[in-house]
Symmetry: C2
Subunit: 210 residues, 2 copies
DNA sequence: TCCTTTATCGTACGGCGTACCGAAAATGCT
DNA sequence: AGCATTTTCGGTACGCCGTACGATAAAGGA
């Protein structure tokens, strides 16, 4: 039926290999040559499956989106959105390159559309109009990405930066900053649920108030 | 007094040249060689003023931060934060590469610390604790970056993407999405102030409620 | 068998960040 | 004045990158 030499791999194998490289070696390690050797192919063979590197990144994003568990739509928009945000956070923690790869990327894949659909379904009880719902979903997604980014990076502030900040504080020009840092953090830790609740409840309530 | 051959340029001249290139040709055009020719120097001479390209980006971010107008702190946190967010938005629209360059970047510069200080001062009347105030500022900054990004990119959705979405909608699997898109946008436009108000008011009110 | 179609992948090009190092240009000392 | 010292300048080169091109290989159809 199909003429010509049969492909030695599939597009999904290529995308999976790229995701594996990104997970273990970081997004910067995802190069055409690196992914090709990952599946035991020559570098140029990848272009049989993927038009260029940028599209490969699109495919990676959509493919990991497929692994996000389907959260239920119960009719309680607050709980539903919180669950959706939690699923997003888990996904981004499992694939730390995702927040960095997400911006500037087209909404190409069906899994991304499915995610959008679930968010809209969760927001249905609010009675908000369509464009507003879309904006809220984009804002919530952006928030989760920002949160996970700071969460993953937060652990280790480089020495050089600490030195710069302390020397800046010594000038006395930043009293509020000095006070805020001095408070330290004996109290409660940030807790994703707490902040996600602020964002979600705050946004939706304000949007509904109009 | 100072020994050795005198420098032909200054660090600020280098950073300004890099900003000029980014403004006119995009962030991708900011390469060591390109910036060097911009100031009429050899490529390797740049390394006299900047340790590596990553630090150059840090310096660019901090330097444009210096041009952000100083918004007043009146005691009305809502108005003050909105003004601060508006100033940020203006800055990002003047330097469209800024939202893309901002994440993954260290808070190295004094101007960034000054910005943080202003945000903390604006939040002082809320009585929130230091760490919470810091988180709120980070979230608001992230929101503005996300908003401006979509604002700048929004104009032109590529044909290929439109085709993909319409074909996906034709399957009937995305009823909410179809409905939301069908609503179109005859009504009010997004308006930065409106959405910024949602975010700011929503976040602070929720945070204060605890 | 030979032709057509398709996939494989070696080679090569231009561009990137930047290590290395000799040349150039200033000052300070004798 | 002459020399040593210190600092900057920038040419060359290395190892990466994405990818255009084209020869080669492997399948089915005639």
């Amino acid at each position: 039926m199909t003429r010509g030499r049969p492909p030695a791999h599939t597009r999904d194998q290529v995308v999976d290999a790229a995701i594996r490289v990104a997970d273990t070696e970081g997004l910067a390690a995802v190069t055409i040559r690196r992914v090709a050797t990952e599946i035991g192919a020559g570098a140029m063979s990848l272009y049989t499956y993927v038009p260029d590197k940028d599209r490969l990144l699109d495919l990676m994003v959509d493919r990991v989106g497929a692994t996000m568990p389907a959260t239920p739509v119960t009719g309680d928009w607050r709980a539903d959105l919180l669950a959706l945000a939690g699923a997003q956070r888990s996904l981004m923690r499992a694939h730390p390159w995702l927040p960095a790869a997400l911006p500037n990327r087209r909404l190409t894949g069906p899994h991304m559309l499915a995610y959008l659909e679930r968010g809209l379904a969760a927001l249905a009880p609010t009675g908000l109009d369509g464009p507003t719902k879309m904006e809220l979903i984009a804002l919530i997604t952006g928030f989760v990405a920002a949160y996970v980014t700071s969460e993953l990076a937060g652990a280790a502030p480089p020495d050089e930066q600490v030195a710069l900040i302390t020397s800046a504080l010594a000038t006395g020009e930043f009293p509020h900053l000095a006070a805020a840092l001095a408070e330290g953090g004996p109290g409660r830790e940030p807790s994703f649920e707490r902040i996600a609740n602020w964002t979600i409840s705050g946004l939706v309530e304000q949007a509904s108030r109009e």
